[in-house]
């Protein structure tokens, strides 16, 4: 029913049966797995990782990178991985990434100062970008994240940008029930009817 995005460390450090039970409690049937890739060696290691096989949960690898130049060279050639996420670590990287015309996800544009404004929204629309937010950043940087999201939620919905939320869990305690997350996001400024379907498998990542 639901999907989630999770770090490779979670699958390597925990028993798959335990994880599978937990994911089934949360009705998560599709799992995207990422690892931070900045070199060719990281990419080779990630390509060679064997994911566990499960009847109830489908697993798929995603491309996640902090380095825009490395990502650009390899995004075209590595066609096996469909979903590409770029993590801009500061505002200048964010503005560079938004001006590229290729289609990929921008990860969590929340910084020490509010950086995601109306100009960024219009660039996202023009250049086919989609936003991915991390639910666990509400737990670790509560004040900063909620304060910025109260503003960002309004402009995203006004400009009708495509966005999505996921847990990006590295530990089993970081997995969150999508049903509870949908209610929480409705308190922050998102429309509940808009958000509740964002965790479903039918929503194409």
């Amino acid at each position: 029913m639901y999907f989630d995005i999770v770090c490779l460390d979670l699958i390597e450090n925990y028993d798959w049966n335990l994880l599978e039970n937990r994911l089934q409690e949360f009705k998560i049937t599709k799992l995207f797995i990422f690892k931070n890739i900045n070199n060719k060696s990281d990419l080779n290691v990630f390509d060679n990782v064997k994911l566990p096989i499960s009847k109830n949960i489908t697993l798929q690898k995603i491309y996640f990178s902090n380095d825009l130049q490395f990502g650009q060279k390899n995004m075209i050639h590595n066609s096996r991985i469909n979903v590409r996420i770029y993590n801009p670590e500061n505002l200048s990287d964010l503005s560079k990434s938004l001006s590229i015309k290729k289609k990929f996800f921008i990860y969590n544009p929340i910084y020490d100062k509010l950086g995601f404004d109306e100009g960024c929204c219009s660039l996202c629309l023009q250049n086919n970008k989609r936003l991915l937010f991390n639910l666990n950043s509400f737990k670790y940087n509560t004040y900063k994240t909620i304060k910025q999201m109260l503003f960002i939620s309004n402009i995203i919905q006004i400009h009708r940008l495509d966005f999505c939320f996921a847990s990006f869990a590295k530990d089993i305690s970081e997995l969150i029930d999508p049903a509870i997350s949908a209610y929480f996001l409705s308190e922050i400024g998102f429309d509940y009817d808009l958000v509740k379907n964002r965790f479903l498998i039918n929503y194409e990542l």
Partner: protein, 114 residues
């Protein structure tokens, strides 16, 4: 002479409507922590932290049942505060571990069936 005035039934429009929320506490293995008083205190404290004292009092949270075998907890709350209560559960991981929302029901009977 003092006549004891009988309270009339409250009009349906003025009555607080209730909802029953069924939760599953996935990480709680210690039977001592599964005490109703402890759980009730945790839920109320978290709700007050996210929504304020007045909302917490108005919400009228009651813990009806807690079952250690199935690790489920049944909570009654005013209909107006259902979404705020569930959103407050988002931050409750540190004390109770992972929580799964099994359902929101209009009656206790419908929550037992599922």
């Amino acid at each position: 002479m003092n006549y004891k005035k009988k309270l009339n039934t409250i009009r349906p429009t003025l009555r607080h409507k209730k909802r029953y929320i069924l939760l599953k506490l996935l990480d709680l293995d210690d039977i001592n922590k599964f005490e109703p008083k402890f759980l009730f205190r945790v839920f109320c404290k978290q709700f007050q932290r996210t929504n304020g004292l007045i909302s917490q009092i108005d919400a009228n949270i009651t813990l009806l049942e807690s079952n250690f075998e199935t690790k489920t907890v049944l909570i009654r709350i005013n209909k107006k505060y259902v979404s705020k209560f569930i959103s407050s559960l988002f931050f409750i991981n540190s004390e109770l571990g992972s929580i799964s929302l099994l359902g929101i029901y209009n009656t206790i009977k419908s929550s037992i069936k599922k």
